[in-house]
Amino acid sequence: MTDYGVGIGWRPEIAGFVAELPGLRFVEVVAESVHDHGPVPQGLADLRAKGVAVVPHGVKLSLGGAEPVDPARVTHLASVAERLEAPLVSEHIAFVRAGGVEAGHLLPLPRSREAVDALVANVARTQAELPVPIALEPIAAIFDWPDDELTEAQFLTEILDRTEALLLLDIANVYANARNRGTEPLALLDALPLERIAYCHVAGGAEAGGIYHDTHTHAVPEPVLDLVAALCERRRPPALLLERDGSYPAADTLRAELDAIAAASGYPVVT
């Protein structure tokens, strides 16, 4: 992927703020929020007209589901990618439904060979329809399955090798998982194929009940920015994107968060 530098997740609530960022070169939009017919949201159309890249980010494909991915959802993602002239799309290493019941959120997979096989098959079904590459994002997991056979790095590397997909590394998820599992986040960075990163997510969270929650509604904590810097020292990803999904702060606060990501990564400020 091109070096896009610092971007932000486009949401209708902050469309005005995003539209006025002078240096912005890429945004992400929740794929399911964009129609595959009718007009593209005006804010996104305006960004496209200015040459800003728009990456559709799927949240409901359920690539890690044991059941085959829903062909209608794949078709939708592919057509949204085409309509937005996206350089790539992204989705999660997770499942969101099973047995016809929606979980309502991204759920972790067991780190087992059976789960890798299921996910690889679904990614292949999706890639067959997509006009562009897909990047896969490991999630923040509040709990783990009891019978993991692979370490997180082995699990992710095997998935990336077998699918030839790119990696969307969420630094806040790396932080959250390490903090909640009591593991070392830098050890994971050192074990991952960093050259496969298409872009990174950066987001805020908060602790509740002894668990760090990746909320996307709180400020980006300092340790997450430190991890961004540590990653960039090892290998700087082509782009880093701030995700904010609610409790939107004042524009100055959002600008400061974007500037902090720029400072930690060495990319130019976009504000």
Binding site: A66, G99, E102, H105, G246
Partner: protein
């Protein structure tokens, strides 16, 4: 443990959405934390789709929603809020108006996706109208006329 990922995923979803027992081997405390986080997220999503319904409950919104949703898997925010609004009837004030506007515009049987009523429906089929997508806009329009 081997095999049957589908059944194990379904069991976990049932735990998180319907109050089924925690599957063997999982940390019950952490699964409980995930379940609560999921319900809070749903409460926020439904409050965005049904702003007047949520506002009418004030500080009790989360409690009211969680009590209702704890054993009901989501059917999407539009239908979840609709089912909850009907269960809380009779509503008053803007929450009642919000429900009435939607009942007037859509036929919803409580079991499958709402369909637009009357003259709207032909137009909706031509546009491949999506109720969840459009309902917010429609509501605003109906309100401003009223």
């Amino acid at each position: 443990m081997t095999g049957d990922l589908a059944a194990r995923q379904a069991a976990l979803v049932a735990t998180l959405t319907s109050g089924a027992p925690v599957p063997p081997g999982f940390d019950p405390r952490l699964v409980g934390v995930a379940r609560d986080a999921l319900l809070r997220k749903r409460a926020g999503d439904v409050a965005r789709a049904w702003p007047m319904l949520a506002a009418a409950q004030g500080d009790r919104w989360r409690t009211v929603f969680l009590a209702w949703a704890a054993h009901r898997p989501t059917n999407g925010s539009l239908r979840d809020g609709w089912d909850l609004a009907r269960s809380l009837a009779p509503l008053t004030g803007t929450a009642a108006a919000e429900l009435a506007a939607r009942e007037a515009a859509w036929r919803y049987d409580g079991r499958s996706a709402p369909v637009p009523r009357g003259r709207l429906s032909g137009w909706a089929r031509r546009r491949r109208f999506d109720p969840l997508w459009e309902s917010g806009r429609l509501w605003t329009r109906l309100r401003s006329k009223g």
